[in-house]
């Protein structure tokens, strides 16, 4: 089922009564989630992504704006009438109930002609458990399960009613690194198998990029950019998005454009067509550096860190905003680590220009 958010705004009264007024958690949020897709809401803490999730789910009422599931306006409906399944960050499994009872719990709330017999409930619970592959653990209590298993139970509980929309709040943040990799593939598989429109919230850009059909980058309650993960990574709309996506983070330098030539410090690093002369921010992805004896971009070499598959060059430049920056190069590249200086050529596709004041992207061609 497609989900449409129209000019959604949520204001909370300010906690500090002396200051008064409102805190705007979500500001004029408009977005259409296509049917059967998996969407990642991505942003730093406090950006309003969890509030957005709560608004879709119905735990919070929007101050302004409307929410549609399909063609139905569900803005005024309570959570139970929306047909949503929500998986909490800490899973919120009932500790006194077994796995099976936990999964069956939502079914026990059905009334009237929707009411199910015990056998039907058990059958549905088993079906959901099989989907997330925990059908062998039905008699256990939550505290006898590992973190990953608990999460599967939580997902099964959210799926057992076959919701229109599945919502996941920071689904992977309570898992260790290895399990996180496994689980995100699991999530993707489950979503594909059920075809349920899924929205999940995360502050981890890698998580969002790896499994979403689309990501929504948020900051201070406002959408910064929406798009397919690779598109957003390759074409960031502004400096915030560029900085937020990618590990190691993008490197930002102070630069200027003169006569279609881009300068960082006194180094003429690239020829750019299009932008007007003036000061700019130059953001270069770590993989955008090519070590070259006669490269245009001259930096001080600090260290080389070997990471196995590739290695990273830690270097410094006076124009860099910060202390040292990182360039990722293949581990076969020979670097004279005794030298004080290192020279790079830049890959134009990995270089972005931003306005110094508005931080909006300045397009250019080579």
């Amino acid at each position: 089922m497609k989900v449409v958010l129209e000019h959604l705004t949520k204001k909370f009264p300010n906690r500090n009564k002396k200051v008064g007024g409102f805190v705007v958690a979500v500001n004029d949020f408009s977005f259409e989630i296509p049917d059967g897709k998996m969407i990642g809401l991505l942003g730093p803490s406090g950006c309003g992504k969890s509030t957005t999730l709560n608004l879709i789910c119905g735990l919070e009422k929007p101050t302004e704006g409307k929410i549609y599931f399909g063609d139905d306006d569900i803005t005024g409906l309570p959570p139970e009438d929306r047909g949503v399944g929500l998986v909490f960050q800490n899973y919120a499994l009932y500790p006194h109930l077994t796995v099976e009872q936990n999964i069956m719990f939502p079914l026990g709330n059905l009334r009237g002609d929707k009411k199910l017999t015990k056998e039907e409930m058990k059958a549905k619970a088993l079906e959901a458990a099989k989907l997330v592959q925990i059908d062998g653990l039905m008699e256990r209590k939550p505290n006898e399960l590992s973190g990953g298993q608990q999460q599967r139970v939580a997902i099964a509980r959210a799926l057992v009613k076959m919701p229109n929309v599945l919502l996941l709040d920071e689904p992977l943040s309570n898992l260790d690194a290895r399990l996180r990799l496994q689980t995100r593939e699991e999530l993707r598989r489950i979503q594909k198998e059920t075809g349920i429109t899924t929205v999940f919230v995360t502050h981890d850009q890698e998580e969002a990029m790896s499994i979403s059909d689309m990501i929504v980058v948020m900051k201070d309650g406002v959408i910064e950019q929406i798009g397919k993960p690779q598109e957003v990574y390759d074409e960031p709309a502004n400096l915030f998005v560029a900085k937020f996506l990618g590990t190691p983070a993008i490197n930002v330098f102070e630069g200027k454009i003169e006569d279609g030539k881009l300068f960082i410090g006194s180094d003429r690093v690239l020829d750019v067509k299009g932008p007007a002369d003036g000061d700019v921010c130059v953001a270069i992805r770590p993989e955008g550096f090519v070590v070259s004896e006669h490269g245009n971009f001259c930096c001080r070499l600090i260290a080389r860190e070997v990471m196995g598959r590739d290695s990273s060059i830690v270097a410094a430049n006076d124009s860099f905003i910060g202390q040292t920056f990182r360039a990722i190069i293949s581990s076969e590249t020979v670097v004279d680590t005794s030298a004080d200086e290192i020279r790079f050529d830049l890959k134009p596709a990995k270089v972005f220009l931003f306005d110094r004041n508005t931080e909006e992207r300045i397009p250019f061609s080579v």
Binding site: L86, F88, P95, F105, P106
Partner: protein, 295 residues
């Protein structure tokens, strides 16, 4: 071994005090209960056997005390726990004035038993000048005055139970409000998203989550009610046998120091019987709470 010695040395002060002031007297009580006609002054006794127990169990004052105690326990423990749960639930639902009400409900706990007794006198006692406030109310609705303090047994027992519940309520409310507050909000949110109705949330989520605290309150409530004495004195004075409102602890006290006192052997036997009852009930309680161990 060396470590062991050190550990025992650390434990020694506590063990010493416990031994002298708790364990030794306890053993002594057991010994007295089998010694017939023990006399404190001369430290002599006339024989040994089960006579003390058979005397106490046949003493009408004791059977009355036993009956009173059981009635108080059976009525006040479930009622006070249930009431406290209702009040705690109400408190958790009102965001405003919660602190004020919490303080109001907690007042009886910091008030002296005898002072509360005085307040109850004003409410219930019939004097030459007034029938007491409750009787005024009864009269207003066309009923006849009842002498709650010196009248029929059921009236006295009613006042006794109200008094006991009133006294134990604050502590239970305190424990249950904090137990309710400790149930994570996400459980309720999860239940709401699944469309769980209020009653089902209460029986399937809230109640099981605070069950350990309820068990704790029931067990300590049973023990406390079995050991009731001062509350009875506050209402009916020291001559509880005459009022027919004596309790087991009161009987023990009377046998030691009361008007008919001076019988440590009988007192010990009664104390041992009380101990046996409390011990048995507590064991049953613990077994029940273990069997329904929820998580």
């Amino acid at each position: 071994m060396k470590n062991n010695l050190k550990a025992w040395a650390y434990l020694l002060p506590a063990l010493l005090f416990l031994g002298i002031f708790t364990i030794y007297p306890l053993i002594d009580v057991v010994v007295y209960s089998f010694e017939e006609g023990y006399n404190f002054a001369s430290q002599t006794y006339t024989g040994t056997g089960l006579y003390n127990f058979s005397y106490v169990l046949r003493d009408p004052y004791f059977t009355q005390a036993l009956k009173n105690t059981f009635i108080i326990v059976i009525i006040t423990v479930p009622l006070s726990t249930g009431l406290a749960l209702l009040i705690a639930l109400g408190l958790s639902k009102i965001p405003r004035l919660k602190n004020l009400f919490q303080t109001v409900y907690f007042l009886p706990y910091v008030t002296n038993t005898l002072a509360v007794g005085l307040a109850f006198m004003i409410l219930f006692k019939k004097t030459a000048y007034s029938d007491g406030m409750v009787n005024l109310l009864i009269n207003a609705f066309g009923g006849d005055s009842v002498d709650f303090i010196g009248g029929p047994y059921w009236a006295k027992m009613l006042v006794m139970c109200i008094y006991t519940i009133w006294i134990v309520l604050p502590f239970k409310i305190l424990i249950l409000t904090s137990a309710l507050a400790s149930v994570s909000d996400t459980y309720y949110k999860a239940a709401r998203v699944d469309g769980t109705r209020g009653f089902r949330i209460f029986t399937r989520i809230t109640l099981p989550m605070i069950a350990p605290m309820i068990f704790y309150l029931v067990i300590t409530g049973f023990i406390g009610a079995f050991k009731a004495y001062s509350d009875e004195v506050a209402l009916f004075g020291t001559d509880l046998n005459a009022a027919g409102m004596n309790t087991i602890v009161g009987y023990v006290y009377d046998m030691l120091y009361g008007n008919s006192g001076g019988y440590p052997s009988f007192a010990s036997a009664a104390a041992i019987i009380l101990f046996a009852i409390v011990f048995t009930i507590t064991c049953i309680n613990l077994l029940l709470s273990k069997r329904s161990r929820l998580f």
